[in-house]
């Protein structure tokens, strides 16, 4: 029977959540747990990527290995077969994209992270371009996608980037702030390269607008010292609050 351990259970809060982007906040945990989570996200979450490419016909301008590399990444339970058959018959240059990859299993399709809002017309939503063909050129190949993890090969890593930062705790000394002139307060707000503070012109108060934007540069602290008021602002890196950004 285990004895009582001083274990803390972390709390999770979600800031933003999109298809390909998430921002989370972890509280009451330690850097080692946050780092373990980050490492697992990058290297050990299994995904499916193309592993084997058999090229039948290739009369495009790129050579076989080049196309295979652009696609990269047997047992029927852990692999899915894709076919690609494209021939350019018209005069226009034809784009061969990831949407032309036809899957043998309809539940597995190539990932398309195109932002629908950024495209004006529907023929622009074509997926990732593999190669461009001109008249008479043809590309025919068979590709096998397998399940794997990022540790094996980076093509199986589901995440583009995973970062975490400490959330800072910012304390502004109200008494010392009152002794500054408006111009000095504005200089103070502007000295931070990212928008962390703001000056409320109605009340003349300097407010903390976005603590997460603070990049741990010491500009504001240096300015406070230069103005002769070293106790004006105090910033601690919160040691058990982590902001994760995952793409």
């Amino acid at each position: 029977m285990e004895s009582l351990s001083y274990q803390r259970f972390p709390k999770v809060k979600i800031g933003e959540l999109k298809d390909d982007y998430a921002k989370l906040e972890f509280r009451d945990t330690d850097a080692s747990m946050a780092n373990a989570l980050r490492r697992v996200m990058i290297a050990e979450v299994p995904t499916i990527a193309i592993d084997l490419v058999e090229i039948d016909v290739n009369s495009s301008v790129l050579n076989d290995e080049f196309i295979a590399h652009r696609l990269d990444g047997q047992c029927e339970y852990c692999s899915v077969e894709f076919h690609l058959r494209v021939k350019c018959t018209g005069d226009q240059t034809l784009d061969v994209t990831s949407k032309d990859l036809i899957s043998s299993d309809h539940s597995v399709v190539p990932v398309d992270f195109a932002d629908p809002a950024a495209y004006d017309s529907s023929d622009q939503q074509r997926g990732v371009i593999i190669v461009k063909l001109c008249r008479g050129q043809e590309l025919r190949l068979r590709a096998i996608a397998r399940k794997g993890i990022g540790k094996d090969n980076a093509k199986w890593s589901p995440a583009a980037t995973v970062t975490f930062m400490y959330e800072p705790e910012i304390h502004i000394s109200e008494d010392l702030m009152e002794t500054l002139t408006l111009a000095q307060k504005e200089a103070f707000v502007d000295s931070s390269p990212t928008k962390v503070f703001d000056l409320d012109h109605a009340t003349g108060q300097v407010l903390v607008v976005d603590p997460e934007a603070y990049t741990y540069d010491d500009e504001v602290l240096k300015l406070a010292e230069a103005m002769g008021k070293p106790g004006l602002i105090e910033i601690y890196g919160g040691e058990d609050i982590f902001i994760f950004t995952v793409e």
């Binding site: 351990s5 274990q7 979600i14 080692s32 697992v40």
Partner: protein, 107 residues
């Protein structure tokens, strides 16, 4: 694999294969939370070998039991994170009025 003195069960070094900082640092952290532990640390003998040595010294309890308990605690914490995360996602989705969203990079 456990290396330790024959008579003294409370101090031991555990050698884990196919592991790296991901698990070792998290286990070290959980071990530190246990009041029975007097010393714990980990090292990686060579970065090309996937092997981790975890050293545990306790106040008297057998080191392997303390390590097993720490691993159980770590599992509990991860399960808690998972359920808290699932709940936070569900709350977020309902507050966003159920816009269809897919979670690709999760946790």
């Amino acid at each position: 694999m456990e290396h330790g003195a024959f008579g003294d069960q409370s101090n031991a070094t555990f050698s884990l294969t196919e592991e790296d900082h991901t698990l070792a640092n998290a286990v070290r952290f959980t071990l530190n939370q246990d009041p029975r532990v007097t010393f714990c640390g980990y090292s990686i003998p060579h970065p090309s070998d996937a092997r981790v040595n975890i050293r545990v010294q306790t106040t008297g309890d057998p080191a392997r039991e303390v390590l097993k308990d720490a691993c159980q605690d770590l599992m509990l914490m991860c399960q808690h994170v998972r359920s808290t995360f699932d709940k936070a996602v569900a709350d977020f989705k309902t507050s966003e009025r159920g816009q269809a969203m897919n979670i690709d990079s999760e946790e």
